[in-house]
Amino acid sequence: MATKSLKKQNKELANTERQLEILSNGIFGSDELPTFAKKIKETNQFPLRPKKLEVLQLNLGYMCNQVCEHCHVDAGPDRKEIMTKETMIQCLEVIENTKATTLDLTGGAPEMNPNFRWFVEEASKAGIKDFIVRSNLTIIRANKKYYDLPDFFKKHNIHVVSSMPHWTRGKTDKQRGDGVFDKSIKALQELNAVGYGLPGSPLKLDLVYNPSGAFLPSDQVSMEKDFKKALLEDFGIQFHSLFSITNLPIARFLDYLIASENYEDYMYQLVEVYNPTAVENVMCTNTISVSWDGWLYDCDFNQMLGLKVASKVKHISDYNEEVLNNREIMISQHCYGCTAGAGSSCQGTVA
């Protein structure tokens, strides 16, 4: 289990250009497998263009209390990239005027941003329909100052979306670190205790499942059934929906795929189960992702690859939804991750 980010370790793959090079060469450079652009051209879906903007996703920083092996953000305690209050103020102006119906805060652990609570309080005033915080759960138990987060979330009617790779301790800890499972269980019980995740409760608690290894997630509905049964029977925990997310071959997961000699097989598998129907609803078609320093991206994955939006408007300080909606979406071979099988997005399957 790694304890430092790729960046801190000065690993080759901390360099986003190197990641893009790997994704463009090898099996894709030699035409052994078709590039994503070539694949979507087959069904006249190139270039990929945005539809109606629905989700504004803000990355409040790459700092995290965990160092998960699959993390596409390469987040960890050693990452110092944190959204400043000045950038948050620029985001608030956008939030007040956006047509998006979902505001999605992510990280790292967004709660570790020192201005997180102030920002949530301010942003909730805009009355956006669905206000999501992506919480890794263990942060709630990481330090006394976070113990009241369930109540804070409840006060602002936050929709909590949390990661949980498996309902067994072994698999969870292997992917996310020792002790993560027990802390996550405790945090889920505390969220349940204030009303989150209970049947019929307006306090939404959803879980995110992503595979702990070089394989794809299976059917979201049957996984949800298995998760619900196991968590309820073993720990009395309830939640609303399970989103199943495919690991995209970037950052730490790409590093893992290469080191474990699974990269080629994994890419073959992604291409093999490519689903053109999923392309219709990939999240980059309804999302704008904002980085900690205010740059704009088609999605969180493009953000981590340094692929800024192909638009005149590239920064939150110049934000203009109309201009942004006229862009072409930046793609590379990692996009196969979102179009595999039933598709994958921050909201789960899309096809």
């Binding site: 309902w167 299976s218 049957s222 073959y268």
Partner: protein, 112 residues
């Protein structure tokens, strides 16, 4: 790899190619195969575990790779997988041992 071995893991990706040399039979086989693994009286998960056990009994390295990955995708735990392998092994060793009765019968018949 694979130049001097009978099995190459990459050949599993080419399994579908068998249809090229006999389209009708190949297509019929894959249709049948797909149908067998659909959710039915048994769940797809149960079928995956049966397939994993049989893969070991018929000692098919391609099948073992395929159904280990399939199990992981379905959230099957390693304990469940190993128990399935033992079920296959128990039947296989039982099948050997039950022939011991034949040996005993023959022994008794030939002996005074």
């Amino acid at each position: 790899m694979a130049d001097n071995t009978y099995y190459d893991p990459k050949d599993l990706r080419k399994f579908g190619n068998i249809t090229e040399w006999s389209e009708e039979l190949g297509t019929k086989f894959f249709d049948y195969y797909g149908k067998v693994f659909e959710e039915g009286a048994l769940t797809a998960r149960e079928k995956s575990l049966i397939a994993l056990a049989v893969s070991h009994v018929v000692k098919c390295p391609y099948c073992i790779d395929a159904y280990t990955k399939d199990g992981l995708q379905r959230g099957v735990t390693k304990e469940e997988m190993m128990e399935a392998v033992h079920v296959g092994a128990a039947i296989e060793s039982g099948a050997t041992l039950v022939h011991g009765v034949q040996m005993m019968n023959k022994y008794n018949k030939l002996s005074m």
